[in-house]
């Protein structure tokens, strides 16, 4: 299990939270997703042999939220 934190551009609509959390939640290999609305971060716990960081980043980007930086631990 790995943890990644993605920094997004400032989030403005609270409905984004649900959108990102539910879409990532449907991605296989993703254990948990938490959107930190006020710091505009997405915290994801995932199984690294099922899904890659690039893939998760891709999903967030495709939803229309460009990822500005990321930290994997």
């Amino acid at each position: 299990m790995k943890k990644a934190v993605f920094q997004l551009e400032p989030l403005t609509c609270p409905s984004c939270i649900k959108k990102i959390e539910s879409t990532l939640g449907k991605t296989s290999g993703v254990h948990s997703t938490k959107v930190l609305f006020n710091s505009s971060k997405v915290r994801v716990e995932f199984e690294e042999n099922q899904v890659g960081v690039q893939q998760i980043e891709g999903v967030i980007n495709k939803l229309g939220y460009p990822v500005t930086s990321k930290k994997v631990s």
Partner: protein
């Protein structure tokens, strides 16, 4: 596709201009120009909205943008160009303004993270090199020059400097640090030069923990917020059902979609969190860490505060005021023996005695053995072939040591003068008394008066210290109650008793020895210079600068935050009803509905922003001199 998002602001401005142009054209009678301008405005402003809706749709996610897109297409279809242009413009402009204002409410956190150091200068193998902050490891020798930022937590090993510690404590008066002193990541060397040995690096530094704590706190939900979430959970589906009903009854698609768009609970969803973020942000800037919305809520209801005395109401930096022998022996020699035993003590009074012995240049190199600590009372041990018992009156009684009238009178007199009297017996005979005095914090009187003015009904002091000292402090500070000579577990018992009686209890202590009592209160406050790990973990509110004024500020802030949150909630719920009824009765159309909706979101954000500037009213200065011991 990216450039559309990138130039969203330009698009917004352009569509705004086109709408203005359309109105001018209309006044001048050029109706074709007007139509063209409006349609162009609609098309360009729809682009980013349409795109977002599509992106979400591709991933099977539902979005507000989709609703707006449907509404706009509907409006275009029936030829309502003014509506379509104004709605798309307002949607984009609203999002822009919300972004800008939200940024302001988050600014305190942003400022904090911006203060995080990026690189460090270290000496490795005799070579000075500049490395990234992540590469610093524990044990590295780090150099900090004037104007430089301390990159990691550590101890000063060479040099001395004045440090601005506001990033950690909120206190802007520089603190002087010299060899052996603790320095924190994120603080700045004002003048001077220091080299430190790295002790905590990366995410373990106090500064990193503060940021994480504040981030977490701002996300955590209060009761009000949870209530609103529940409300939104019922509300959103019922609005969808209602809009379908509206469509079935009136057969008017535009009205149904308008209903959907306008009923989106924007202000409702954002109202409570935004107050919280501002409130917590304000606290963080002042060196007050409030752990979340729930804590804010509970703290604002506190009516009884229990204080620990030493280190909370007083400075906790006690000094030896006298070493009084009852025999003809040399006071320095007696102090030397006592200090040798107290070397192993973790109690602050013991450490004070050791410090005094060192200041008197006494040789205390012999280590004691068979040390036995009697919790809350003192300790006993063997040193240099003598058997020593050091502690309070109770310990002397427990050990059946005879307290003569002379000794008793002397001790009582010293205690009346505000000292803590520490008895010591050598080989079963009481040889003398060491007096230690602590000072009341300078801002105590003022801070307590402020707390009372803000609604605290009862203030109690608990202390393990003696009756006389406790009484003096309690009288000087005007406390309602005090209890002396308590053990840590008795403090816990006392707090629980108050809770049972229905008080909402806040317990303030210095974090380490008061941790159990702090944990058992409704709201635990820790005073921690720089914040110890334990206090940051157990307490609900952490006062980073060790000032009681911060306490008063935190309490007033919690009340203001909850008040602000309630205002937002009532306002948002009110607006939702106005909008729904307005749409159904035909008074509010798509454009005007969107306007009211966006305006209401902005109003709740602006209202929350007032909290950023919140400051309790200044009261007139109380003057309390630094007199000893009227503690």
């Amino acid at each position: 596709m990216r450039w559309i998002h990138k130039y969203k602001n330009v698009i917004t401005a352009l569509s705004g201009l086109l709408i203005v142009l359309a109105f001018i054209a209309n006044k001048a009678g050029y109706s074709i120009t007007k139509e063209v301008a409006l349609i162009t405005a609609t098309v360009i402003a729809s682009l980013p909205i349409f795109l977002k809706a599509l992106q979400a749709l591709r991933l099977k996610a539902f979005s507000i943008e989709l609703l707006v897109t449907i509404a706009v297409i509907g409006a275009l279809y029936i030829g309502e160009y003014v509506e379509s242009a104004v709605v798309t413009f307002l949607f984009l402009f609203g999002a822009y303004l919300e972004g800008r204002t939200l940024e302001k409410t988050r600014s305190s956190l942003k400022k904090l993270t911006d203060m995080a150091p990026q690189e460090a200068t270290v000496i490795r193998q005799g070579e000075i090199m500049s490395i990234g902050i992540k590469e610093v490891v524990v044990g590295d020798r780090v150099i900090i020059r004037p104007g430089g930022k301390v990159p990691v937590d550590g101890k000063v090993i060479t040099g001395h400097a004045n440090l601005n510690e506001s990033a950690v404590t909120g206190e802007s008066v520089p603190a002087h640090k010299q060899i052996g002193d603790q320095v924190f990541s994120g603080t700045i060397v004002d003048d001077g030069y220091i080299e430190i040995s790295a002790e905590k690096v990366g995410d373990d530094t106090t500064f990193a923990k503060i940021i994480e704590l504040v981030e977490e706190a701002q996300e955590s939900k209060s009761k009000t917020q949870r209530f609103l979430d529940q409300f939104a959970n019922i509300y959103t589906p019922s609005v969808i059902v209602l809009s379908i009903l509206v469509f079935l009854i009136t057969n008017n698609l535009l009205l149904a979609v308008t209903f959907l768009v306008v009923a989106c609970p924007g202000a409702l969803v954002i109202g409570a969190p935004v107050s919280n973020v501002s409130g917590i942000g304000n606290g963080a800037k002042q060196g007050v860490l409030v752990k979340g919305g729930e804590v804010m809520d509970q703290f604002s209801k506190v009516d009884t505060i229990v204080f620990d005395k030493t280190g909370t109401l007083t400075k906790g930096k006690a000094e030896v005021t006298d070493v009084h022998p009852f025999t003809n022996e040399d006071p320095d020699e007696l102090l030397r023996l006592v200090a040798e035993v107290e070397k192993v003590s973790e109690h602050h009074l013991g450490q004070t005695i050791v410090k005094e012995a060192k200041q008197r240049n006494l040789d205390i190199s012999n280590d004691p053995n068979q040390v036995e600590v009697v919790k809350g009372n003192g300790l006993q041990a063997q040193v240099e072939g003598h058997y020593l018992v050091i502690g309070n009156r109770q310990l002397m009684n427990q050990q059946d040591l005879f307290i003569s009238e002379e000794i008793d009178n002397y001790a009582t007199r010293r205690e009346r003068e505000g000292n803590t009297a520490i008895f010591f017996a050598i080989n079963n005979e009481i040889k003398g008394i060491i007096s230690i005095a602590d000072q009341i914090r300078k801002d105590a009187v003022e801070a307590l008066a402020e707390l009372r003015a803000n609604g605290i009904k009862k203030m109690v002091m608990l202390t393990g210290d003696n009756q006389h000292t406790a009484q003096l402090v309690a009288e000087q500070l005007g406390l309602d109650e005090y209890h002396a000579e308590l053990l840590p577990e008795e403090k816990v018992e006392f707090v629980q008793n108050l809770k049972r009686k229905g008080h909402v209890v806040g317990m303030a202590g210095d974090g380490i020895n008061d941790a159990p009592a702090i944990a058992s209160a409704h709201i635990g406050l820790a005073m921690g210079e720089g914040g110890t790990d334990i206090s940051m973990e157990t307490a609900d509110v952490v006062l980073m600068a060790d000032r009681l004024k911060q306490f008063a500020h935190a309490y007033a802030l919690s009340k203001a935050t909850i008040r602000n949150m309630k205002q937002n909630m009532y306002f948002a719920v009110g607006i939702v009803f106005v909008l729904l009824i307005g749409v159904l009765t035909g008074y509010i159309h798509l454009a005007s509905g969107m306007f009211i909706h966006e305006a209401s979101v902005l109003i709740v954000i602006l209202n929350a922003m007032r909290l950023l500037k919140f400051r309790p009213q200044q009261r007139k200065e109380f003057n309390i001199k630094n007199q000893p011991a009227y503690t």
